[in-house]
Amino acid sequence: MTILVIAEHNNAVLAAATLNTVAAAKAIGGDIHVLVAGSGCGAIGEAAAQIEGVAKVLVADDAAYANQLPENVAPLIADLAKNYSHVLAAATTNGKNFLPRVAAQLDVDQISEIIAVESADTFKRPIYAGNAIATVQSSAAIKVITVRATGFDAVNATGGSAAVEQISGAGDAGKSAFVGEELAKSDRPELTAAKIVVSGGRGMQNGDNFKHLYSLADKLGAAVGASRAAVDAGFVPNDMQVGQTGKIVAPQLYIAVGISGAIQHLAGMKDSKVIVAINKDEEAPIFQVADYGLVGDLFEIVPELEKLV
């Protein structure tokens, strides 16, 4: 059994989610190979070779793979997949974009967002926004799987010494082109990797008031998230959304500020180790999942909290 893990990266940095995906591969068992498809991504290949437990790294360095457009990378991965028992990618917007295309090319079903490995062919995954957990078994010759990072503790980024092999694929399929990107710039940790997350909801009232959360987050070394209500109201950009259709987080500490706790939001954060809820409505559903609840005016509580931590 040999497992192919698709590295998540932006040609400059190997994303932490790759380490969680390798951890899932380790739980399945067998040799682990990592594919780095990108452009000018030699350093990513070297970083991948350092990952604990990785036996081999394949690097496909081609301008056509620079942005991992699915029309271009899916044929490359599908072609390689024939030599593997499993193909795994992180359930990021990137992995979710190209991997189902790979599965269909291979004529196999995909298993999305696994949170646990029961055996080499049996996995657990959330359905209905995490209100139910399904155990599914695959009889496909090649098992194509996306991995929810919060379900698996990351392996070490160092300690491995895998061989690096250069490969090539068909390149540009000529159907799509990358036009541009608007990426949020932040010095704070990435939401899905942060140990502490401070999130704001509709109770923040406007985007400007998020400054209270940013300054609390900076004191705690935390990332800042938001509920769908806050994103839909235009307070903050979509990449901050935590929830069923946004980012799934499971930090050591999650501080929900002015968030009522719709089930769609809870689906994105209820695996956090400790949850703190700050809300003026003592009946808010968020208190039903919070370890520590504080009822009151967030505009008084948050600055005081910042002073005391």
Binding site: P100, P126, N131, A132, E182, A184, R228
Partner: protein, 249 residues
């Protein structure tokens, strides 16, 4: 140009589902069913393209039980021109659905296919991408903006770090994210008119598609419950608990 929109009948997003006692699935008896919210956004986007004069005809397709006609009628009331139901009572996986949609695409030859990015029951987020592979069309998933320009469509996508824009050659596939648009409500006159719009029924057999799956569900369980904790009285007490009891700061 012709636009094909796929919609799915799912449990209403306001329903809190319960797992069946025998762990065979979730209990959907006497539960309100609706159009998947992401599919509503797909229908709305197609209607807006028609209002702008970009789309000439909107065909809406659903794959599911007879009752999925309700969701197709809703789409017709929102502005779709005609509907196709591929009737199947089996619980189909995304690949089977994508194969059936491919057969409908072959028949209808649309320039643009719009789908929701995921269904809120199975949460798979696969069908649009799989349809892309089967048709060989380019895909713009998780769209927050769709602009047709000549023989191309520019799609702005919601990605983990922010937004990304791609240019796709038509015909192409788009899957919708939450912020693409805000779906309208169907007016009563349009609901009445929708009853007279054509609705064709097909079967997987008639389309020559086999829908077997390589994945089976062994059991469905409720997630581990999280019990409510305590209410603290002051910020000082909260900080003390976080430091000394939970030890997370």
């Amino acid at each position: 140009m012709k636009v094909l929109v796929a919609v799915k009948r799912v449990v209403d997003y306001n329903v809190k589902v319960r797992v069946k006692a025998d762990n065979s699935g979730v209990d959907l008896a006497n539960v309100k069913m609706s159009m998947n919210p992401f599919c509503e956004i797909a229908v709305e986007e197609a209607v807006r393209l028609k209002e702008k004069g970009v789309a000439s005809e909107i065909v809406v397709v659903s794959i599911g039980p007879t009752a999925a006609q309700e969701q197709l009628r809703t789409a017709l009331a929102l502005g779709a021109d005609r509907a196709v139901l591929v009737e199947s009572n089996d619980e189909l996986n995304s690949l089977a659905v994508a194969k059936l949609l491919k057969a409908v695409v072959d028949k209808e030859q649309p320039q643009l296919v719009i789908l929701g990015k995921q269904a809120i029951d199975s949460d798979n987020n696969q069908t649009g991408q799989m349809l892309g592979a089967l048709t060989g069309y380019a895909q713009g998933t998780f769209a927050s903006k769709v602009e047709v320009a000549g023989d191309k469509v520019n799609v702005t996508r919601e990605i983990d770090g922010g937004l990304q824009t791609v240019a796709l050659s038509l015909p192409a596939i788009v899957t919708t994210d939450l912020r693409l648009n805000e779906p309208r409500y169907a007016s009563l006159p349009n609901i009445m008119k929708a009853k007279k719009k054509p609705l064709e029924t097909l079967t997987p057999d008639a389309l020559g598609v086999t829908t077997t799956s390589t994945v089976k569900t062994l059991k469905v369980e409720a997630p581990a419950a999280r019990s409510a904790g305590i209410k603290v009285k002051s910020v000082a007490e909260l900080v003390e608990k976080l430091k000394n009891e939970a030890k997370v700061i």
